[in-house]
Every structure is written in structure tokens, then in C-alpha cells.
């Protein structure tokens, strides 16, 4: 930098550190303030972690000695959970595919149509799964039907979002070919778009099935049937040994389904 620098200088002058951008600083300040405010409103403190450790340990100890035979005693609930997930995923991804076609600029020729569909889908996705279960429990009573209906709505939202984003990115060649040969909207979607998105779509289907198995705890606790309702009952009776056994078994089931779907996915893609 400086012309006067002696020729023997070992290193050039260090360049000046660029000033951090005001946007970043502002963002960090806002984030820090929000964090402080959030922690304050929640009364957040990690002190119980040290103070109540012995209280918690009594319960955790029970969890560490799971009652294994209980897993088989609730066999029906396991079957129910898998069945709920299969029905809900199948219906959800089928309707989700339809909505995906409606929610993409590529397949929906009406600009307002696809905007309205997108808007509807983001409202659908903004409600947590638990809200759907509560609604359907109120409508059709406690049981697996409520769980199935809730998961279907939940699945439509996810399937449609993922698939419509894939549709947005398809190669336009086949679309032009279909248009040139006079294909209607449906034929175009079926023959020019569907073959392109099929591998991705199938992998989303598997992903949604996995999600549904994972969600089974939530579904059951809110009254939607399956293994979650068993957890709910055992939890309210303080039978933590039984809950622990179910949780470990659920973990294994999730892992197995994860492996299975990874295997299937490799065959599709």
C-alpha cells in the first residue's frame, strides 16, 4: 500500500477489515432483542435442569427399565397405526397430486386458478396436525377415523407443495411437443409432465408415509387412534415402563420403515 515501505518488509500491510454491513448488524440486534424478550416472557431458565434433576431422575429411571412384553400386548394398536398411515398417505398423496397440478403455473393455464390454489394450500399447511385431529375428533368422535381424516388433510398440504415445486421445474420440451400435437390440459399433464415427475413424486409418497408413522404419537394423544392413544393412556396412569417400551419399539419401527423406503427410493430414482 505505502510506497515508502522498506524493501526488506517481511509482509505487506494487512488489508483493512471491511466494516460489517448495517443490515447484518440491525438483523443481529433485532434477533438478540427478540430472543431476550421471548426468554423473558417464557420465564425461561435452565436452573431446573440442575435443581430438579433428582425429581426427574425418578421418572427417567422408570423409563430406563422398559416393560418389553407390553409391546406385544398392544399388537392391535400397532396394526392400527400402520393401517391409518397407509390409508391416510394413499388418499392424501392422490388428492395432493391433483392439487399439485392445479398449483403449478406449468399445468394450470389459469393464472388466477393456480394462485388461488397456492393460497389455499398455504392456509392448509399453516395449521398444525394437532389442530386437524382436534377438529375431526369433534366431528366424528374419538377413534382412528378422526386420525385418518386429519392426516389426509395434513398430507395433501405437504404432497401438493413438494410436487408442485417439482412440476414447476420440469423440462419444457415435452410440454411444447404436447401443445404442438394439440393435447388438452389433462392429456398434457398426464403424458408430458407426469412421466417427468414420477420418480420424485413416488419418493415424496414414501416420505409422507414415514411422516405419518412418526406423527402417530401426536395423532393418538389427541384422540385419533393407533399407538399414540396407548401412550396417552399409559402416560396418564404414570406407567412409564410401558410408555418406554412403546417409545423404543416405535423408534425401531420408524428406523425399519426408513430403511425400507430408502431401498424403494433407490429403485425408483
Amino acid at each position: 500500500m505505502s510506497v515508502e515501505a522498506p524493501p526488506r518488509a517481511a509482509a505487506t500491510d494487512r488489508p483493512r477489515k471491511p466494516a460489517p454491513s448495517p443490515v447484518v448488524i440491525g438483523g443481529l440486534v433485532v434477533a438478540a432483542a427478540f430472543t431476550w424478550w421471548a426468554g423473558h416472557s417464557l420465564g425461561f431458565s435452565l436452573r431446573p435442569l440442575v435443581e430438579n434433576w433428582s425429581n426427574g431422575w425418578v421418572v427417567i429411571e422408570q423409563f430406563l427399565s422398559p416393560n418389553w412384553p407390553f409391546i406385544w400386548r398392544v399388537w392391535d394398536a400397532w396394526v392400527e397405526t400402520i393401517a391409518i398411515s397407509i390409508v391416510a398417505s394413499a388418499v392424501g398423496v392422490s388428492l395432493g397430486l391433483l392439487f399439485a397440478f392445479l398449483a403449478s403455473r406449468v399445468t394450470n393455464r389459469s393464472a388466477w386458478g393456480f394462485r388461488a390454489t397456492r393460497w389455499f394450500l398455504s392456509v392448509l399447511r399453516s395449521l398444525p396436525d394437532i389442530a386437524y385431529v382436534l377438529i375431526f375428533v369433534a366431528l366424528v368422535g374419538v377413534g382412528s377415523l378422526a386420525g385418518i381424516l386429519a392426516l389426509i388433510l395434513f398430507n395433501i398440504g405437504i404432497a401438493a407443495k413438494l410436487t408442485s415445486e417439482t412440476i414447476d421445474a420440469v423440462d419444457t420440451g415435452p410440454l411444447e411437443a404436447a401443445d404442438a400435437s394439440g393435447a388438452g390440459t389433462a392429456a398434457r399433464a398426464r403424458w408430458a409432465v407426469m412421466p417427468q415427475i414420477l420418480p420424485n413424486y413416488l419418493s415424496y409418497c414414501l416420505y409422507i408415509f414415514e411422516l405419518n408413522i412418526r406423527a402417530s404419537v401426536v395423532i393418538g394423544i389427541a384422540g385419533g387412534g393407533g399407538i399414540g392413544s396407548v401412550i396417552n393412556v399409559q402416560f396418564s396412569r404414570f406407567e412409564y415402563e410401558n410408555v418406554a417400551a412403546i417409545v423404543v419399539a416405535l423408534f425401531v419401527v420408524v428406523l425399519l420403515i426408513d430403511q425400507l423406503s430408502q431401498y424403494l427410493r433407490r429403485r425408483f430414482v
Binding site: 421471548a38 417464557l42 400402520i82 393401517a83 375431526f136 404419537v217 387412534g225 402416560f235 420408524v254
Partner: protein, 301 residues
């Protein structure tokens, strides 16, 4: 799906156009569909659902919807409706706070795990062990963490839920951070080494600087997910909007339920839009393609 057998039949001399190639066999597809149909039928049977109750959706559904709409359309500034709106908003904000603090805890804890689980940073054994641990956390729903560990220690209330969200976030965020670290450009690493940087300095200035935008985007994405997850935690008494929803549904207060649902939808959409805009800005400022980000995020959730 299977490769088409492109065996054209020998053209007869009089044929003007080339004859249509014979259609590939459909047996496999038919069998697959049949199998899927059988599985679906079995599942419908085994799910123990009382399908006849489904009429309730159409009969009661419409009535309840009207009640909910009534609640939403009442003057929100008059008693008691203003109280309902305030309560729902307060509880929803509690959920947002839980999600924010929980995500922050998860983010901070996940950084060292991310480095330990990256193949180009740590040794093979460390990577295997850390990945196993992260997968374990990923497989357990937050709800289970809350039930097993957090409620006994923190008692009922939002703090238990917050910590549960934090623990749950470590699994995904750790994995995504590790994957981001594995995808970095090795140039800066070599440059830092050549300039005599120590291991820690290399990690900080060559690795971390490269993945920071992507990793912060993952944090925000997880925050969006955690807002929904925090609603679930409320149902077992861990605070937030879920607790209010559970109470309202228990008492069948449809007018208030309508108000609460509108608040949930509005706040979630708002936060999603805000967080999405920031993520977009961060990512397009960085060198990461949006497409890779999305796929990673999807596979990890």
C-alpha cells in the same frame, strides 16, 4: 417405467406411414396396482375406523363452521370477543417464543455436532458415533422428549416444551450442518493451511465461513417447523397455543375455536413469509443454490 421394446413390425409395401410400434407389456404395472389395491383395502379394513361416522363431517361440520365464522365475524373490539382475540394471540405468541428459543438452543448445540459428524473434518469413528447419535434424536418425536425428560424436570409449562424443541432440533440441524460442511470448496481450506493457520482457525475461517449462510437458512427453516411442533406440545401441557386449543375443543367453544384458528393461520403465514424472505436473501447472497437446499431440508425433516 420399464424400457419399451422398440420392435417395429416389418412395414408392408402399401403402408404410407410407419406402423405403430407394439405397446410394451402392461402386466407388471397391472400387478403392482393390484398389490397396492390389496394393501390399501387391507389397511382400510384393519384401521378399525367407523366409516359410517364420516357423515358427521358434512352434518356437524357445516354447523360448527358457521359457529366458528360467527365468532370471527363478531366485533373484535367489544367484550367478550376482544378478550378471546387477545388470549389467542398471547398463546400463539408464546408458541412463537417457544419455537424461537428452542430453535436457538438446538442451533447452538448442533454446531459442534455438525463438525463432529462431517467426514472431511473428523475421523471415521467420531463421524459414525455422532451420526448414530443424531439419527437417534431425529427418530424420536419432540413430544416424546417432552413427556419423558422435560416434564419431570421442568414441570408443566412452556419451558419444558422449549427445551424439548431444542433437543429435537439438534438431530436435524446437526445432520444438515455436517452435510453442508462436507460440500464446501476445499480451496480456502488449503489457503488457510498454507498460511499457517491452526486447526481451530481453519475450521473457523475456512469451513464455518463457507457454510454460515446455508446453516442460518436451515435454522430459520427449523424455526418455521418448530412453530407447528410447539402447538403439538401444548396438548400435553407444555404451554403455547396447543394448550388453549385443547381446552377450547374440550369445552366445544366453537366461536373461540374459530378465533384461535384464524390467529394460528395468520401468525404462521406471517412468520413463514418473513422467515422465507430472510432465507431467500441469505441464500441468494451466499453461493448456495436454492434447489439443493430444498432437497436437503426435505430429506432431513
Amino acid at each position: 417405467m420399464s424400457a419399451a421394446t422398440n420392435r417395429t413390425q416389418p412395414a408392408t409395401a402399401s403402408a404410407v406411414t410407419t406402423p405403430r410400434p407394439s405397446e410394451p407389456s402392461k402386466t407388471k404395472a397391472t400387478l403392482t396396482w393390484l398389490a397396492l389395491l390389496v394393501i390399501f383395502g387391507g389397511a382400510v379394513w384393519l384401521s378399525n375406523a367407523r366409516w359410517s361416522e364420516i357423515t358427521g363431517v358434512f352434518t356437524d361440520g357445516w354447523r360448527y363452521f358457521q359457529l366458528m365464522l360467527d365468532g370471527v365475524l363478531e366485533n373484535p373490539f367489544a367484550e367478550p370477543w376482544s378478550g378471546y382475540w387477545t388470549l389467542a394471540l398471547e398463546k400463539m405468541m408464546e408458541s412463537v417464543y417457544m419455537a424461537w428459543v428452542g430453535t436457538l438452543i438446538g442451533a447452538i448445540v448442533s454446531i459442534p455436532f455438525g463438525f463432529l459428524a462431517a467426514r472431511n473434518v473428523s475421523g471415521r469413528v467420531t463421524v459414525q458415533v455422532t451420526r448414530g447419535f443424531l439419527n437417534l434424536i431425529r427418530a424420536v418425536p419432540e413430544l416424546v422428549f417432552a413427556i419423558i425428560i422435560m416434564l419431570p424436570i421442568f414441570g408443566f409449562g412452556p419451558v419444558a416444551g422449549t427445551v424439548a424443541l431444542g433437543v429435537g432440533a439438534v438431530g436435524t440441524l446437526g445432520k444438515l450442518t455436517a452435510e453442508a460442511l462436507e460440500g464446501i470448496d476445499t480451496g480456502p481450506v488449503e489457503a488457510a493451511r498454507a498460511a499457517g493457520a491452526r486447526k481451530l482457525a481453519v475450521l473457523r475461517w475456512a469451513y464455518w465461513s463457507q457454510v454460515l449462510p446455508e446453516v442460518v437458512a436451515f435454522w430459520l427453516y427449523r424455526f418455521e417447523i418448530n412453530i407447528r411442533a410447539s402447538a403439538v406440545l401444548g396438548i400435553i401441557g407444555a404451554g403455547g397455543i396447543g394448550q388453549l386449543l385443547g381446552q377450547l375443543f374440550g369445552r366445544r367453544e366453537w366461536e373461540q375455536i374459530g378465533i384461535a384458528l384464524v390467529v394460528v393461520i395468520a401468525v404462521t403465514l406471517l412468520v413463514d413469509a418473513l422467515s422465507g424472505a430472510i432465507r431467500h436473501r441469505i441464500i441468494s447472497g451466499g453461493a448456495v443454490k436454492e434447489s439443493t437446499f430444498k432437497e436437503d431440508a426435505v430429506s432431513a425433516v
